[in-house]
Amino acid sequence: MPPPLDLDRLADELTPVRRLRPAAGALATAAAVAAVIVAVLGWAGLRADLAEGVLHPIFLVRAGLLLLLGSASVAGVLAMGQPAVGRARAGWRWAAAAAAVIPMAAVILALNAPTPVGGRLYPMNGMQCIGYTLVGGIAIGAVLTLWLRRGAPTSPKRAGLLVGLGAGSLAAFAYGMHCPHDDMLYIGLWYTIAIAGAAAIGRIVVPPLVRW
């Protein structure tokens, strides 16, 4: 049995601390996303239509959903840094449900496609999408994880999942600035795999790093 805790001694060891601020975490994440966008544009280049100032509707829907899912997940992570009994943090679930419309639409389109879908999948481009999303997601996730380590997440597994989901979604958003594909089937397959992969990595890697 350990000796009783000496509260006087614990108080004597007190040093001032810098409060954990979610706004700082959000700012650091935004900076990381901006850096990933710059890297994507530097290595792969901007979509041709964006370069000409034209916005494709599917591009807008995809970017909006990814930004929504990423932001909701990151907001969940930031809230988890400051625990409190009774605080609901379910926003990311609704965002995930909204984003799930794309893979579901892809499945329906694939089942009803008049021609074989194989020619619409572009596996090499899909692999590139996964690669950029995972590498970018690791960079964004690292920033989030560093911030979260100063906090006190009481559900490390869920925190890891949300770090991966948020970082992966935002990295996919960044890669979307280059991605020339607007086919729902392509987006539903490769983006889903990439983001699910990032979420799985977060779920496995992050919990031991934020446990306390």
Partner: protein, 175 residues
């Protein structure tokens, strides 16, 4: 006299700035509050250990408190996290030797009974798992006795205890 939430919040804000007198007063209040908090969730022999662990966590994670928010929900979240951690440690210890001896250890039974004393938690489990845990871990019956009463085979009683405790730990974390 018990300090109210606003007072504790002010003390914590001062402590974050390095005020040791305020911090010492806060620690004393928190220790009293935690002893009451855990009294309903732990056997008496374990309370002091978990209170100490929680106070050390409070110390280590004091930067995560936002003085704009109530203090006690923050402290309760930390306390519950340490409580689940304690639950897992006891569970892992039982898992290592999940046999007749470990499961029917008389000293362990009240500990686990207190740990999962909230009936609401047991109601979240499938009936067979809840029954196995209730008979062996709370009522202190042997595996053989639990098997005879419940109609489950002895291996099934063990498996249901194992799965039920695991599910309880997961449920508490997500609550």
């Amino acid at each position: 006299m018990t300090a109210d939430d606003a007072t504790l919040s002010r003390l914590m804000a001062l402590a974050q700035g390095g005020d040791r007198v305020a911090y010492r007063a806060l620690l004393g209040e928190c220790r009293n509050w935690l002893q009451r908090f855990f009294a309903r969730r732990l056997p008496p022999a374990s309370i002091d250990d978990v209170v100490q662990d929680t106070l050390l966590s409070l110390h280590a994670k004091r930067a995560s408190y936002d003085p704009e928010r109530p203090f006690l929900p923050w402290l309760a979240a930390i306390a519950r996290y340490r409580w689940v951690d304690h639950l897992r440690q006891v569970y892992r210890a039982a898992e290592v030797g999940l046999d007749e001896t470990a499961i029917t250890d008389e000293q362990d039974a009240p500990a686990i009974a207190a740990r999962i004393g909230l009936d609401g938690l047991l109601r979240t489990l499938p009936a067979k798992q809840a029954e196995a845990i209730r008979l062996v871990k709370i009522d202190g019956l042997s595996i053989a006795e639990a098997s005879a009463i419940s109609g489950q085979s002895q291996p099934l009683v063990k498996v249901n205890i194992h799965r039920g405790l695991k599910r309880l730990a997961k449920h508490i974390e997500q609550d």
